[in-house]
């Protein structure tokens, strides 16, 4: 009588414990009568056991020191988070050959027309990715503070000489929505016309069960060479100390791209995330973000949060503090912008939203000094005066003022 033996792959599945219940039952019955197959399964299991019992080398004792030293020096890496290599579907060999030629040609032209930008999503990505300078995104924020300092990017990493903001208590903030205008100033006290409009909404939220503030900012800038530019930013900050948790920025258009997206996560002393740039609603460029944020330059704050920031501290005559405004961190020149703040006086200020008692502050970085007024009652920034800035879109003196608020 002829015996039908199970296939080798079936025996392998049985040996690995991957056989279905039905297979298991059928094979067990077969093994009761077939010592040959039983021996093969035994041999496979012996092989597995021997392989699992093999000794392996230990890492060198100095490795952990090297890892910690590299992190302390600011080195970061983005680890692959998914199994990015998709399973290849069956493709006819002739079709596959044609596809390979087409993909190869497209790849060559893409490579030839662009610089070396690492896009592989399945490889660890070093923070020190470099690329075509034309594509390097630098944050060009449109409101409140950091636009003031863009002309001096070269010295952006200088340390502050003032102590960091102390006594921050984010619970002093309250939910609300604020509307601002950017206006050109033709003469002292004369706001000629609006060059941009922005809104800022803050609401209580929670992140992983911890109280947080969610801040949504939208800013429309005057028409430039490529039309109206829309900037939106969404922030989640910890309520207790206002540490940034996540940040997303969208700018449309940005240079030759229809839309630029920045996604950042903040963890410990680092920011990580991705930048992507779109053309015709398709992502054409992606870059990793992985940067060390030196604690000595903290606290770190997004510009979108700037009007709310001083709500969290108690100001007084002579008060000083320092912080770093966050850049997009895609390139090393655009990680942080250290600024110093100093209360220089008290004034009653009239803006479209009303007349308020304010603290007057100087915001400075190096020789650049600008004026900023903060409402005494709640610390809200209600006016920024930008004198003779040559930043993009601002040819003369400008002011950013509060025009309306909804509590």
């Amino acid at each position: 009588m002829m015996i039908l033996h199970p296939s080798a792959s079936t025996l392998q599945r049985f040996s690995d414990g991957d056989a279905t219940a039905k297979e298991h039952q059928r094979l067990s019955a077969h093994f009761a009568e077939c010592h040959r197959c039983r021996n093969i399964v035994g041999s496979l299991r012996d092989l597995s056991a021997q392989a699992r019992a093999l000794a392996s080398p230990s890492p060198s004792p100095a490795l952990i020191d090297r890892i910690l030293a590299d992190r302390a020096a600011g080195e970061r890496i983005i680890l692959p988070q998914r199994d990015d290599r998709p399973t290849r579907p069956f493709v006819d060999r002739r079709i596959a050959a044609g596809l390979l030629v087409a993909i190869g040609a497209a790849g060559y032209f893409a490579w030839a027309s662009r610089s070396s930008f690492t896009t592989a999503n399945d490889s660890p990505q070093r923070a020190s990715v470099t690329g075509d300078s034309l594509d390097l995104p630098i944050s060009t924020p449109g409101l409140f503070l950091s636009r003031l300092f863009l002309p001096s990017l070269a010295s952006a990493s200088e340390p502050s000489s003032l102590p960091p903001l102390k006594g921050v208590d984010g619970r002093r903030l309250s939910a609300g929505q604020y509307f601002f205008s950017r206006m050109e100033v033709t003469a002292p006290g004369v706001r000629a016309h609006t060059t941009g409009r922005g809104s800022l909404r803050v609401r209580a939220s929670s992140d992983a069960g911890a109280p947080s503030w969610h801040v949504a900012h939208e800013w429309t800038l005057e028409p430039g060479p490529s039309g109206v530019r829309l900037e939106t930013e969404s922030l989640v900050v910890r309520q207790r100390d206002l540490r940034t948790i996540t940040r997303s920025v969208h700018v449309s258009p940005y240079l030759r791209y229809s839309r630029l997206n920045i996604l950042q996560n903040f963890s410990g002393d680092s920011v990580s995330g991705f930048m992507s740039a779109e053309r015709n609603n398709k992502v054409t460029v992606r870059r990793p973000i992985a940067r060390f944020l030196a604690p000595v330059a903290g606290p770190y704050m997004s510009e979108a949060f700037a009007p709310l920031l001083l709500s969290s501290v108690r100001l007084h005559p002579g008060w000083t503090g320092s912080l770093s405004l966050l850049g997009w961190a895609v390139v090393p020149e655009d990680i942080r912008y250290p600024v110093q703040l100093r209360v220089t006086g008290e004034e009653r200020i009239r803006v479209p939203a009303g007349e308020f008692d304010c603290w007057r502050l100087e915001i400075s970085r190096g020789a650049l000094v600008h004026n900023y007024w903060v409402r005494k009652s709640d610390g809200l920034g209600i006016r920024t005066r930008i004198d003779r800035t040559r930043s993009a879109g601002a040819k003369g003196n400008h002011e950013i003022v509060l025009i309306r608020e909804v509590k």
């Binding site: 792959s9 092989l47 093999l54 392996s56 890492p59 680890l79 692959p80 988070q81 963890s267």
Partner: protein
């Protein structure tokens, strides 16, 4: 001297594990070192089995722990931490293998010498099964290591390697057949 491996994190109470993970996320070096001490041996073994080189395995381990605080943003703490970090290590090791495969800078000096007395060779070179595994073609060796030695499912191996589940099964079968041939030349080859 390497510290004695500590019990795996997954053996700890959930709140202890969660606290340690939070400290790593916050960039605390001592927390990173603590997890390193617990997991480095088994992750080194995994990386070494996949890359076949002590130097490459150490590079993999370096990268895994260098990027761990940021990578933990994506760990939701629902699954076992040990399994998660092993999967991350496998991905980094496979990335290293792919990068090595496509590198045009490899020279014969990059491969271990037969006379090498390094740790790996002394640990495993005298064991016939280790030599047999090392001699497997890389596609077969990767599947054998991941399935037999690391216990991954064929579904996960297919995702890691970018092959179909059937291909993974076939490669495992071929690998075991070659190993059995190498170790027992008289086995009934099917």
């Amino acid at each position: 001297m390497m510290p004695r491996p500590l019990p795996a994190l997954d053996d700890q109470l959930p709140e202890q594990m969660s606290s340690l993970i939070t400290r790593i996320r916050d960039g605390e070096p001592s927390a990173l070192a603590e997890v390193y001490n617990r997991y480095s041996s088994q992750l080194m073994a995994l990386a070494w089995r996949l890359t076949g080189s002590v130097e490459d395995a150490e590079d993999v381990l370096h990268d895994v722990f260098l990027g761990l605080p940021e990578a933990l943003r994506h760990y939701d703490e629902r699954g076992a931490f040990g399994q998660w970090i092993r999967r991350v290590t496998a991905r980094v090791a496979l990335s290293a293998i792919r990068a090595r495969r496509t590198s045009r800078e490899l020279s014969i000096d990059d491969y271990p010498s037969i006379e090498s007395t390094d740790q790996a060779d002394s640990a495993a070179g005298s064991v016939p099964i280790q030599r047999a595994i090392d001699s497997l073609p890389e596609p077969l060796r990767l599947v054998f290591v991941l399935k037999t030695m690391e216990g991954h499912s064929h579904a996960h191996i297919s995702a890691l390697l970018g092959i179909s589940r059937g291909t993974s099964e076939v490669r495992l079968h071929r690998a075991t057949r070659m190993l059995r041939l190498a170790l027992h030349s008289d086995h009934p080859d099917r």
